[in-house]
Structures are given as C-alpha cells and as structure tokens.
Symmetry: D2
C-alpha cells in the first residue's frame, strides 16, 4: 500500500492564541498518517519497535497554505514517494472540503536500539511495489 | 531541599485559541518544577531513570484561579509536602507579579523498568528532612 | 445527553521517554471527550465560542491507575455529573479492553470574551435532564 | 539584531517513547528563538499581536542530525537570513557542547486579524540592517 487517507478532528489543545492549529502540530498529524498507512498495509509499527527497529525523521519540510481551525475535520493523504534500503520518503497533503491546506514531505531512516543505522526491513521495501 | 522556585516564560505553542495557557500545560510546568527541585537538592532525575527507577504520577489535581497568557513570565514554587517509602507528595503554586494564579498537588510512586512498585530511594526520603 | 463514549488511538508524539502516554495528555483527551459529548447532544462548542461564551476549567483532578502505551486503542467515557448556572461538572473514565485505566473529574465555569463570569447557557443547563 | 542565542533545557513531556526529543518539538523551540531574538532587538511580539499584526509560518524545513534527550541543555542560535516587505526568513542551529544537532529554516508572512496579507512592519524590515 502506497497511499492512505485518514480524517482528523482538530483538538482545542492543538490550537494557539491566533486561533489556528499550531504549525508544530502538523508534524504530529503526519506521523499519525504514517502509522495508519503502515497499519493499512498490514504492518504494525509498535511491534517493529518492540523488535528493535525504529524509524527516525532525518528531514522534514512543510508548506502552509491556508490556516486550520479548532474542530475542523480535515483529511490527511499520506503517500510513500520512494523507498530504498537507506531511506523512506513520504509526501503529505491536508485537505478540508477538497481545498488543499498544506503539503509536506519527510525522509526517514532506520536505526536499532543503540541508534546504529540499519537497512529498511523487507516489509517496508516492498510497500512501494504494491 | 524541600522548596524551590523557577521562572517560566509562556511559549506561543502552549497557548490555545482562547488566548491563554492551555490547562494541560500546567502539568508540564509542574514536572519541570519537580525536576529542578530535585536538581537543586543535588539529585539527577535522568540518572535515576538510567539506574532503573522511575517516578510515576499516581494522582494530580489543579485549581486554576486566573488565566495565564502568551509571553507571561511566571514563577513556579514547588514544595515537597510529604514523603514516605510508598509515595512522594508535592504542592505547586504559580505566581505572576505576586498574584497567585494556580495551586496544585501531585502524588508520585516509584517503579522499576518493568513497572513493579519500588520503595522511594533514600535520597528522596531524606529530601524531606532538609 | 449526559454520557458519551469515544475511542482514541494513542499517538507517538503523546508518549514520553518512559514509553507511556504522558500524564498531561490525559487532560487533552478529556477535553476531546467534552467536545464530543456536547456534539452528540446537538451542541457545537466552536459556535458557542464564536457567539462569545467560553467554558474554562476551574478545577481538575485525575487518578492514574495503569499506564497507557503508544498505539493503544482506548475508550473514554465522559459523563455530566452536575450542572448549575455557576458550574458544569464532568467525570471521565478511561478503559482498554474493559480495564479501568484512569478516572478524573473537572469543574468548568462560563466566561465571556473579556473573562467576566457568565451563567451557563440554557442548552447546557438542560443537558443534565436528558 | 540579526542573531541571538538562547539555552533550552529539554523537558520530560517533550520526549517520546524512543527516549528522544520529539521532532515536532523542534519547531516549538524555533518559535521561542524567534520571540527572544525579537525581544533582544527591542521588539515585543505580544504587543505586535495586540496591535493587530501576526507573523504566520508559510514554510519550514528541518534536518535532524543527532538525537536530543531529556534534560539535555541545548543552545539554539536563531539568525535572520533575509527580510523583505513580503517575508521574513530565519535560520536555526541547535548545539549541545559545540556539536551541531539540527539545522532549520522558516519563512514567515505578516497578516492582520482577518488573515489578510500585510507588509512587514518597519521595525522588522530594519532588523536586518543592524
């Protein structure tokens, strides 16, 4: 599975004094998008960590087009853009009623419990073929 | 050391759409107060965790008297109220320019890495005598 | 409507170095529970704020019984305990597979945009009768 | 003033189950860096908002080089890279004991209370000349 959509309801605690979803919270949503894309493809990220492999964010970037408010019901589309033994790249798009609110990308690496870089597990390498 | 004061500058990301410090963030501040009280008494909570003992919150309660805004510089006074082998009780008071903004309490227990309840280490038991 | 249940999936960003849901995050969940109870009863808290009335937390208290982990799917039951023109009291219970993980209460007051105390609107006063 | 450094102590609530500062929290720190750079140059961002002008993040990007742990004392260097009537660009560098842990950039725009794009106020335009 290469693409997955979820709906997220913006919580009050995620807004700021400007009345909008704080920009740092977008990255929390993107992480939820990755987890659910992984789950939808039959993966279990919690189990992967219990087995000693961790995905860590090496780089991320976001463009904020239109503000998001408390209680908005938004759609997050998460897409695997590229995967190699060294890294996993995602793209994110946030929509409200069809309007594109933000786009983002991230690059993840894989490490073991001690922080040593590891190859992406086969399960993830194959996810780009489906 | 039984009591310690620190100053905290309220961050934009900690406010909510009402323009005030979100009530859940007070508990983050209280935790910082505990860490700094511990450090001021010669303790090192990070080292305590590395050695396999963890303080966990069993109960907490807060009364919010006056709202706190972005960029407010507030004073947090943290006091050890009681300590026994089974639990550690703190009191918290938040002030701005001498005005009391909130009061709170918490009760912590001590557990090991597997979550089993442990006796409070001597260092903590003695902190109430100083 | 006096009681409502929702399911919440614990996000990675909500855990802490101990591996558990951070205790401050429970209060974020309780707020979501209040919003959804309000919505289920036909209310719209965002609209209430746009109309100039705000519910503010005057007091809250939580007992943590069992830790909650990343990716746990938990059930939050939110109940209106009491409502009067001056205050609105809720009770919260968190479950995972039927096990009670935490209980909490909160007391809310109602204020206008300038922070002046207001009577609870009729809609909220009537919610306790249903 | 074009560059400013502050020290930040990593809070327990900012870490995640991996034991590291969660990547979304870096953006909270960068915002604190902007506020303090602004203050060090004689500005007052809270007052600017009270006067009806808001700085909003249009784009941000971060590269994470080395993980950051609970209780680490880190240095954040915030630099104004470019400023024009349309946008304000910052660069961020995070250090621990001289080691570079992360680099980031952001682009801010200026809006009024209704979200309409405004020219950067003179105070900010002049900050790049100092």
């Amino acid at each position: 599975m290469k693409q997955h959509e979820i709906e997220i309801r913006v919580r009050y605690a995620e807004t700021d004094a400007m009345g909008f979803l704080h920009h740092s919270r977008y990255f929390v949503y993107f992480e939820v998008g990755r987890t659910e894309l992984f789950r939808a493809g039959g993966g279990d990220y919690r189990k992967m960590e219990e087995d000693g492999l961790f995905l860590v964010v090496a780089k991320t970037e976001c463009r904020f087009k239109s503000p998001i408010r408390y209680d908005d019901l938004i759609t997050l589309r998460t897409t695997i853009e590229r995967v190699s033994p060294a890294k996993l790249e995602h793209k994110y798009e946030l929509f409200r009623d069809g309007e594109l609110l933000a786009t983002a990308t991230s690059t993840l690496g894989c490490v073991d419990r001690s922080g040593q870089i590891q190859m992406m597990p086969d399960f993830i390498l194959q996810s780009a073929d489906e």
